[in-house]
C-alpha cells in the first residue's frame, strides 16, 4: 500500500454524513462529549497536583476491578471497573499523600493490582477476552442507558467540584498556606481522588484506558501552557478535550478505524501548538524587579 493509499484510507469523510444520522453514532458522540466535560473540568487540577501517574495507575486498575467482577457475573464488568477505579484512586490518595513516596507507592500498588487481575482472569471458567474487550474502548457499543448513566455521573462530578472549588484549588496550588488557613487539605485530597476514580471508572469502559490519559491530562497540560488563569485553564481544557473527542469520533467514522488514534492525535497536536504559543508568551518578560529578563534567560 502506498502512502497515498494509507492516507486516503485514514482520512475520508465519504459516508460520514449518513453515519452521523445513526442512533449508535449519536449516542457515542454524546457519551464522548460528556466524558470530555468531566475530564476537562478535572484535568487542570490533575496537572497542578502532579498526579498524572496516579491517573494512569487508576485507569489500569479498572482492569482488576472488572476481572474480579467477571468472576461473579459478566453483567457486572462495568460496575466492577468503576469500583476498581475508585478503590485504586483512594488507595493512591491515602498512601501517596507524601509527595516523595507517591511514585513508588503507585508503582507497588499498580504491579500488585495487575497481577491480581491476571489471577482473576485465570480463575474465570469462560473466555474472558470477549467480556473484557470493553475495557479497550467500545464507544460504539454505548447504549441509551449508558448515556443516561454518564450524564448523571457527569452532573454529580461537576456539582461536587463546584461545591469544593475554592478550597480544592487552594489545596492543589498552595497546600502549605491552605493548611495554615484551616483548609482540610487531606480530606480534599481524598475527595479529589474519589472524583478521579469515578471519572476514570466511567471513561475506561467507554473509551479505553489510553484515552483516559489523552482526555484528563493532555488538554489540561496544553491549557496550562497558554494561560495562568485557573478558570480560563479549566474552560480551555474542556474545549480542547471536546474538540479531541468529538473530532476524533467523527474522523474515525468513515474509515471505520478505532477512535484512539484520532483522539490522541488531535489532543497531541493541540498540545504542541499550545507549547509553541506558551514559549513565545513566556519570553521575553519584563518586570520592575527584574528589568532584564531576556539577558538572564538567554
Amino acid at each position: 500500500m502506498s502512502i497515498g493509499e494509507i492516507l486516503d484510507r485514514l482520512f475520508t469523510l465519504e459516508g460520514t454524513r449518513e453515519l452521523l444520522a445513526l442512533d449508535f453514532v449519536q449516542q457515542a458522540l454524546i457519551a464522548g462529549a460528556l466524558l470530555a466535560l468531566i475530564a476537562g473540568a478535572l484535568g487542570p487540577l490533575v496537572v497542578a497536583r502532579q498526579v498524572s501517574f496516579a491517573v494512569h495507575g487508576t485507569s489500569e486498575l479498572t482492569f482488576t476491578g472488572a476481572a474480579a467482577a467477571l468472576l461473579v457475573s459478566s453483567s457486572l464488568v462495568s460496575a466492577g471497573a468503576l469500583v476498581g477505579a475508585v478503590l485504586a484512586a483512594l488507595v493512591f490518595g491515602l498512601l501517596g499523600l507524601r509527595e516523595r513516596e507517591r511514585d513508588s507507592v503507585i508503582g507497588a500498588v499498580l504491579a500488585f493490582g495487575l497481577g491480581l487481575g491476571g489471577l482473576f482472569l485465570w480463575l474465570y471458567p469462560g473466555r474472558a477476552s470477549n467480556q473484557l474487550a470493553l475495557l479497550f474502548g467500545q464507544i460504539v457499543a454505548v447504549g441509551r442507558d449508558d448515556v443516561w448513566l454518564l450524564g448523571g455521573c457527569a452532573l454529580a462530578v461537576l456539582v461536587v467540584l463546584a461545591a469544593v472549588w475554592r478550597p480544592l484549588l487552594f489545596a492543589s496550588m498552595d497546600p502549605e498556606v491552605a493548611q495554615a488557613r484551616g483548609v482540610p487539605v487531606r480530606a480534599l485530597s481524598m475527595l479529589f481522588a474519589g472524583l478521579i476514580g469515578v471519572a476514570t471508572g466511567l471513561a475506561v469502559p467507554t473509551v479505553g484506558a489510553l484515552l483516559v490519559l489523552a482526555l484528563l491530562i493532555t488538554p489540561a497540560a496544553a491549557a496550562a501552557q497558554v494561560t495562568a488563569n485557573p478558570v480560563t485553564a479549566l474552560l480551555l481544557a474542556t474545549a480542547f478535550a471536546e474538540v479531541a473527542v468529538v473530532g476524533g469520533i467523527v474522523l474515525s467514522l468513515a474509515p471505520g478505524a478505532p477512535i484512539s488514534g484520532y483522539v490522541t492525535t488531535i489532543a497531541f497536536v493541540i498540545y504542541l501548538i499550545c507549547r509553541g504559543v506558551g514559549t513565545l508568551r513566556r519570553y521575553p518578560r519584563t518586570s520592575p524587579l527584574n528589568p532584564h529578563p531576556t539577558e538572564q534567560s538567554a
Partner: protein
C-alpha cells in the same frame, strides 16, 4: 509542672467594665509545653505578644520554632498549657491569623496568577465557586498595591522571582486583615535586597494596623531594626527579652550551654559558637564567623 514567673494581668485591664472586654494580648501562651514522645521542644513557656509588637523567634534547627507557629495555627496541639489568639483558644482556620511561608520554587506552568494567589488568601477557605464581585476585586487590588505587586498581578506565579513571590505572599497573608501575622522564615533563599524589602513591608504593616508579628528566622540581622523582642529557643531552653537583653554572650552561652560570643559589627549581630560543642547538632548560620555579608553565602546550606 510549676509555671515559672507567671505574669499577672496589669491592673488597668482587670478593672475595665464587662461591657468593653479587656484588650487581650494578640498571642498568649501559658505554661505551654510541646513534646514529641520523650523529646521536649519547649516547656513552661509563658509568652504575651501585644498588638503591633514584632517578636523574632530564633534558634537552631529542630528547636521548635516552626512547631510554635503550628501550635498557634491550631495544627499541632500543645502537650500541656494553653495558647490563645486574641483571648480565645487557638483553633484551625482562625481568620485572625495571616501566614507567610518560606519562598519555594513554584512550577512555571502552575495555572495561578499573582492576583489568584492573593485571592485564595482572602476566601480560598470558603466552600463554593466564589463568583467574582467588584468588592472582592477591589480588596485583592488593594492588597497587591500595598506591597507594590500590581505590575505583575496577572503574571503566572511560577515565572516570578523569589522576591516577587514573597511580596505576593505578604499580600496574601494581609488581604484578610489579620490581627496576628505568623512568618515562617519568609526571607530564606532571598537575596539581601529582597530580605530588606520584605521585612520592611511587614514592619510597616504592623505599625500601621497594630498587627502582632511572630517572625521565625535563622537570622536576626535583616529584621533587627524592626524587632521589639526576641524569643530564643535552644534544646528545650529559651530566653525572652529585647534584642539587647537576649543577644548577649552571657545569655546565649547559658542557652547553648557552651561558650558563645555575640559581636556587633556595622549594626549587625554576629553569633559565634565553638564548633563541635554545638548542642543543636545542626549547621546554624549564627555560628559561622565570617564577614557581614555571610547570609548570602551560607543560605544554600539550609533546606
Amino acid at each position: 509542672m510549676s509555671p515559672l514567673n507567671l505574669t499577672t494581668e496589669p491592673d488597668h485591664l482587670r478593672m475595665r467594665s464587662p461591657v468593653a472586654p479587656p484588650a487581650a494580648p494578640a498571642v498568649r501562651l501559658r505554661s505551654a509545653r510541646l513534646a514529641y514522645g520523650r523529646r521536649v521542644l519547649w516547656d513552661c513557656l509563658d509568652l504575651d505578644v501585644a498588638p503591633g509588637e514584632f517578636l523574632a523567634v530564633l534558634g537552631p534547627n529542630g528547636s521548635g520554632k516552626t512547631s510554635l507557629l503550628r501550635v498557634l495555627l491550631g495544627l499541632t496541639p500543645l502537650s500541656a498549657g494553653s495558647a490563645e489568639i486574641n483571648g480565645r483558644p487557638v483553633r484551625r482556620g482562625s481568620r485572625a491569623i495571616g501566614y507567610i511561608p518560606q519562598q519555594r520554587a513554584l512550577d512555571p506552568t502552575l495555572t495561578l496568577r499573582g492576583r489568584d494567589l492573593v485571592g485564595l488568601g482572602l476566601d480560598g477557605h470558603r466552600w463554593g465557586l466564589g463568583l467574582p464581585s467588584r468588592r472582592r476585586r477591589a480588596q485583592v487590588l488593594r492588597a497587591l498595591d500595598a506591597v507594590g505587586a500590581r505590575p505583575y498581578a496577572d503574571a503566572p506565579v511560577g515565572l516570578l522571582s523569589g522576591g516577587e513571590q514573597q511580596r505576593l505572599r505578604v499580600a496574601q497573608a494581609l488581604v484578610g486583615d489579620p490581627d496576628v501575622l505568623l512568618c515562617d522564615e519568609p526571607l530564606l533563599s532571598l537575596d539581601l535586597a529582597h530580605q530588606r524589602m520584605v521585612s520592611e513591608l511587614i514592619d510597616a504593616r504592623r505599625r500601621a494596623a497594630q498587627t502582632a508579628v511572630l517572625f521565625v528566622t535563622h537570622e536576626i540581622n535583616p529584621v533587627l531594626p524592626a524587632v521589639d523582642r526576641v524569643l530564643y529557643l535552644v534544646d528545650g531552653r529559651f530566653s525572652i527579652g529585647t534584642p539587647a537583653e537576649v543577644m548577649t554572650s552571657a545569655t546565649l552561652s547559658a542557652l547553648y550551654g557552651t561558650d558563645v560570643e555575640v559581636i556587633k559589627v556595622w549594626q549587625r549581630l554576629l553569633v559565634i559558637g565553638v564548633h563541635g560543642d554545638d548542642l543543636s547538632g545542626g549547621a546554624d548560620p549564627h555560628h559561622v564567623p565570617i564577614a557581614p555579608s555571610y547570609s548570602a553565602s551560607v543560605r544554600h546550606e539550609h533546606r
